[in-house]
Amino acid sequence: MPNNAKNHERIDTGEQQVGVMYARSLIGATEAAGQSEAILAEFDSFIEDVLDKLPQFDSLLSTALVSAEEKAALLDRALKSQASTLFLNFLKVTANHGRLNCLRAIRRAAHEVYDKLRGRIPVVVRSATPLDAASEKQLTERLRGMLRGEPQLVREVDPELIGGLVIRVGDTVYDGSVARHLEQLRLQMIDRSVHEIQSRRDRFSHSA
């Protein structure tokens, strides 16, 4: 999942909103043509193999100094031999609306829209040590029952958790790590001591 793997990618909420609109239309078109997987793969490759590797091309597409027609013509010349017609058309439409700067947001949203359509749910699993195959399978089974969808595991290893699992689905985090249990225990002990001190002090002042 690109959106979770690149956890610290910059998010612009305005671009995000535009991205969702374009992504929905793109997926709508690809679904109709039955080529969603292929187009998404093409999209990934375009971002990773072209834009990421040729930052000047990226800025050429993003800049407002170049007119939409010129951009469309440029895309035509550069990609005609390799890209599918549908994807090229999508790029040209985006260029015409001056939204080529939002391509990354559109890709992120497109993956989300497609996953949702297929009932796939991205789940980030953080553990102290890498999970073995058996427990991963068990976890997937449990998540499948819980989420009513196909969990897509993204594994992260964080030794600071000490043990246990932290599972993140959307904005909700289920934290069952040992580190948090210890922290909770610490807070509970402080709480109880405060109560203890208070009740002792009250006893003190009443008798006085």
């Binding site: 909420t13 904005d171 985090v173 948090r180 249990h181 909770q184 002990m189 109880r192 208070q198 002090r201």
Partner: protein, 517 residues
């Protein structure tokens, strides 16, 4: 005393055995941008308005703006350690502060953390910072006096328990002094005091705390400090936090006094937050809900009904005006919210009339019911008399010849003004106030030279205490001036007049060393 390690170990073991493991479920978001005390968060899709959120370094924030794609959060603490991309968790709780007896005598920040180096505040009681004001059924009319110990205020614009009396004036006109004197005067009255310092220099606050300590007032006072260097969100929540601490006592049947020093700075902090959050600016660039910001705060001051314990919370909000401009946005707002105002004027202040209260435009809308009967009798027309005296005085300055009646009115006025002057940190007992004002309004000072008035007054109060304690005792007992008692007053004053006059006949030039009242 010796510690036994095994005992401690067994306690910890018991704790661990009792510990129930639960999976912690929470909402998270990610910091998009941070700065100037605010952050914008992506995610947190189910966060509620005013909910507390927690940053990775333990700093607390409050959801302030819920937008379509992001959540605006005000950061209550150090925002310099928060970075873009940090995970933010929602807590499902509203902002609350510790309350209770443990806070009395302490200096705390708006989140209830101690700032006086006297160790942790041990209390498990907490109250939400934002709390609904009691409704109509939960209140009763203000009818008990809340003596400020300042003659001019107690006589002319009396404050009752549960009242909101605004103190308004330019810088350096003695606004804070009124609040401090009122706090000092609550000694032995059982009223708990709260002083909320918002956006002030830390050195000024330190001076105030020192003054309170020197007067023995810190024994029943809590100081909530959010200085000029603390971020705007803390300055914004400080008055609500102070009120929450005071409400604890009010809802437990106690009486409290809270001084907000000052609300104009709080409004400025709120304006800063709102503009950073891109809320639309209105008049003077304040957001549209700045009125609500103050009204919901001041509505929490109340005199509770007997069913709710009859507690009260009196507030003295302070507003600083610029060049005497009371018709600016914030002053008019707060004037319309409060139950009266004490207006302090710079020219009076520099003329040596302190407290520099302008009797003409200072009012108290409910406090009259709260005056003791004796004070009502002696000070009934005082405010209007003084106001008309000011007009007459301005007229007399034209240098025209005055008839005897006007001249005598002027003389009376000068002497009343002299009598109402009062030093800082020397609040006066209400019965002493009644005695002085009685003497003044009945014209017993008319023959005394102006510069001897203060001396006459303090001598008179000492005289009553030492030579006619019966008169004072009766006044304290009945809290009223019957005709009989008035006659005794007249007798006592006649005797004292002779003593005072003789002192000056015998030892010319040597001032009497009469003790302070």
């Amino acid at each position: 005393m010796k510690f036994r390690a095994d005992e401690i170990a067994s306690v910890i073991q018991r704790e661990i055995e009792q510990y129930q493991s639960e999976i912690d479920v929470r909402e998270v978001g990610r910091v998009l941008e941070v700065g100037d005390g605010i952050a914008r968060i992506y995610g947190l899709s189910n966060v509620m308005a005013s909910e507390m959120v927690e940053f990775p370094n333990g700093t607390i924030g409050q959801a302030f703006n819920l937008e379509e794609n992001s959540v605006g959060v005000i950061i209550l603490g150090d925002y310099l350690q928060i970075a873009e991309g940090d995970e933010v968790k929602s807590t499902g709780r509203l902002l609350s502060v510790p309350v209770g007896d443990a806070l009395i005598g302490r200096v705390v920040d708006p989140l209830g953390n101690p700032m006086d180096g006297k160790g942790p505040i041990v209390t498990s009681d907490r109250r939400p910072v934002e709390f609904m004001a009691p409704g109509i059924a939960g209140r009763q009319p203000v009818k008990e006096p809340m003596q400020t110990g300042i003659k001019a205020i107690d006589a002319m614009t009396p404050v009752g328990r549960g009242q909101r009396e605004l103190v308004i004036g330019d810088r350096k006109t003695g606004k804070t002094a009124i609040g401090i004197d009122a706090i000092i005067n609550q000694k032995n009255s059982g009223v708990k005091c709260f002083y909320v310092a918002i956006g002030q220099k830390e050195s000024t606050v330190a001076n105030v705390i020192e003054a309170l300590r020197a007067a023995g007032a810190m024994d029943y006072t809590t100081v909530i400090v959010s200085g000029a260097s603390s971020p705007a969100p803390l300055q914004y929540v400080a008055p609500y936090a102070g009120t929450a601490m005071a409400e604890y006592f009010m809802y437990n049947g106690g009486h409290c006094l809270i001084v907000y020093d000052d609300l104009s700075k709080q409004a400025v902090a709120y304006r800063q937050l709102s503009l950073l959050m891109r809320r639309p600016p209105g008049r003077e660039a304040f957001p549209g809900d700045v009125f609500y910001c103050h009204s919901r705060l001041l509505e929490r001051s109340a005199k509770l009904s007997d069913e709710l314990g009859g507690g009260s919370l009196t507030s003295l909000p302070i507003i600083e005006t610029l060049e005497g401009e009371v018709s600016a946005y914030i002053p008019t707002n707060v004037i319309s919210i409060t139950d009266g105002q004490i207006y302090l004027q710079p020219d009076l202040f520099f003329a040596g009339i302190r407290p520099a209260m302008n009797a003409g435009i200072s009012v108290s809308r409910v406090g009259g019911n709260a005056q003791i009967k004796a004070m009502k009798k002696v000070a009934g027309g005082l405010r209007l008399d003084l106001a008309s005296f000011r007009e007459l005085e301005a007229f007399a300055q034209l240098g025209t010849d005055l008839d005897a009646a006007t001249q005598s009115r002027l003389d009376r006025g000068y002497r009343m003004v002299e009598l109402l002057k009062q030093g800082q940190y020397v609040p006066m007992d209400v019965f002493d106030q009644v005695l002085s004002i009685y003497a003044g309004t009945r014209g017993h000072l008319d023959k005394i030279p102006l510069d001897k008035c203060a001396e006459w007054e303090s001598g008179f109060l000492t005289f009553i205490k030492e030579q006619r304690p019966d008169v004072r005792a009766k006044l304290v007992e009945t809290k009223d001036i019957s005709d009989d008692l008035a006659k005794q007053f007249e007798e006592a004053i006649a005797v004292y007049q002779k003593q005072f006059a003789s002192k000056y006949d015998e030892v010319q030039g040597v001032p009497a060393t009469a003790g302070k009242a």
